[in-house]
Amino acid sequence: MSSNVSSPEITHTPEHASGTGRIWKTFWVLSALTVIELGLGYFLYWKHGQLSYGFTLSTKLLIAALTLAKAYYIVSIFMHLGDEIRNMIMTIIVPLLLFVWFIAAFLWDGNAWKNLRNTDAGSRPAQTEQHQLHPVEKNAKP
């Protein structure tokens, strides 16, 4: 089969399965992950105001982890990055690791900013926690 007609410099084309089984399997995996995310989202909605701050945060982190799993399946299987050679994968993945620091540093900074505002730059104690300050009405009219 003529698999490398696009350029003589390319000696390898990723193994393409003759069937579409892997594509549909990935579709079901993505759908299942989305349904689980939605389930957790509805859980947070129904239990709004009844959960501790830490529990809510952990659930949100779990949803974020599921999102990363979805991203992995899209990039690895739909975009075929998982079929490329290792050097190619690394030139994409390694620069993206900067995001780890970006996210940590900027969210930390946002939180520090809030603390400065709530305490007049540390000159007074913060009044109350945010969720006690603003009780959110459930089933609010749109």
Binding site: T11, L38, L107, K114
Partner: protein, 245 residues
């Protein structure tokens, strides 16, 4: 199925072959997508920073609870789930088009490209409805002691903290950044979807004209596919940051 497997201990960088063993066009598409990922990442991280820095942020379950033709029914997450599944499904039809391209099956590529384009248009239609619904909404907001009816725009955020006013719980203006970030980021993503639809249309026309059969390979479909999957990938994160958490 490939005729040659990767030879072990190949000196990839000595010339005469592509160091990453994929075509120049695909490498550059990947690097473009990586830079685009940083752009979207910067937007979303900026949004996160502002959201972390204020005491109150709009509750997505309250803001996004409408569904077309459902009147004022309270349906949080429903419409955006539909949008998410539309985009996932159009990603599947795109990857099936690429698959048919590998088999040099022009009819198959055409069929799946049409389905992908329809998926993209359906998503854009949903987004147009959602934006219209938000901008033209009329939510009671307490402004300077008076009740005003506000939609969500880049200058107005009716989703602030609730206070008691004349025996009723009413909203106050929220951080103005909400509308700017929401419309800015979903708009930038929607523009990517729009340009993806245009690219896919061009690919469909070129397929119909038999350009890829003459060329002997369907690699352009793969490159358009990379872009289209990236649009889906970004949506996964927009969905997380704006609607789920």
């Amino acid at each position: 199925m490939s005729t040659t497997s990767i030879p072990t201990n190949t000196k990839w960088w000595n010339g005469g072959r592509s160091p990453f063993n994929i075509s120049y066009g695909k490498v550059m598409m990947w690097y473009f997508l990586m830079s685009d990922a940083f752009t979207f990442g910067a937007f979303l991280i900026s949004y996160g920073t502002i959201r972390f820095s204020v005491n109150h942020w709009a509750d997505p379950n309250q803001v996004f609870n409408a569904f077309p033709f459902a009147g004022h029914a309270n349906l949080p997450l429903a419409f955006v789930s539909l949008m998410t599944f539309i985009l996932i499904f159009s990603s599947v039809t795109m990857v099936l088009a690429v698959h048919e391209g590998h088999k040099m099956n022009r009819r198959g590529v055409e069929k799946y490209m049409i389905l992908t384009i329809l998926g993209g248009l359906a998503f854009l239609g949903c987004q147009a409805w959602e934006w219209t619904h938000m901008i033209t909404g009329d939510h009671a907001v307490l402004v300077n002691g008076e009740i005003e009816k506000w939609g969500t725009t880049v200058t107005k955020n009716p989703w602030g903290p609730h206070v008691m006013h004349e025996g009723q719980l009413v909203s106050t203006p929220g951080p103005i950044a909400f509308g700017g970030y929401f419309f800015g980021i979903t708009g930038f993503h929607g523009f990517h979807v729009f340009s993806g639809v245009i690219i896919n249309l061009v690919m469909l026309i070129k397929t119909r004209l038999g350009h890829f059969d003459q060329r002997g390979h369907y690699e352009m479909i793969e490159k358009a596919g990379l872009y289209w999957h990236f649009v889906d990938l970004v949506w996964v994160f927009v969905f997380l940051c704006f609607y789920l958490v």
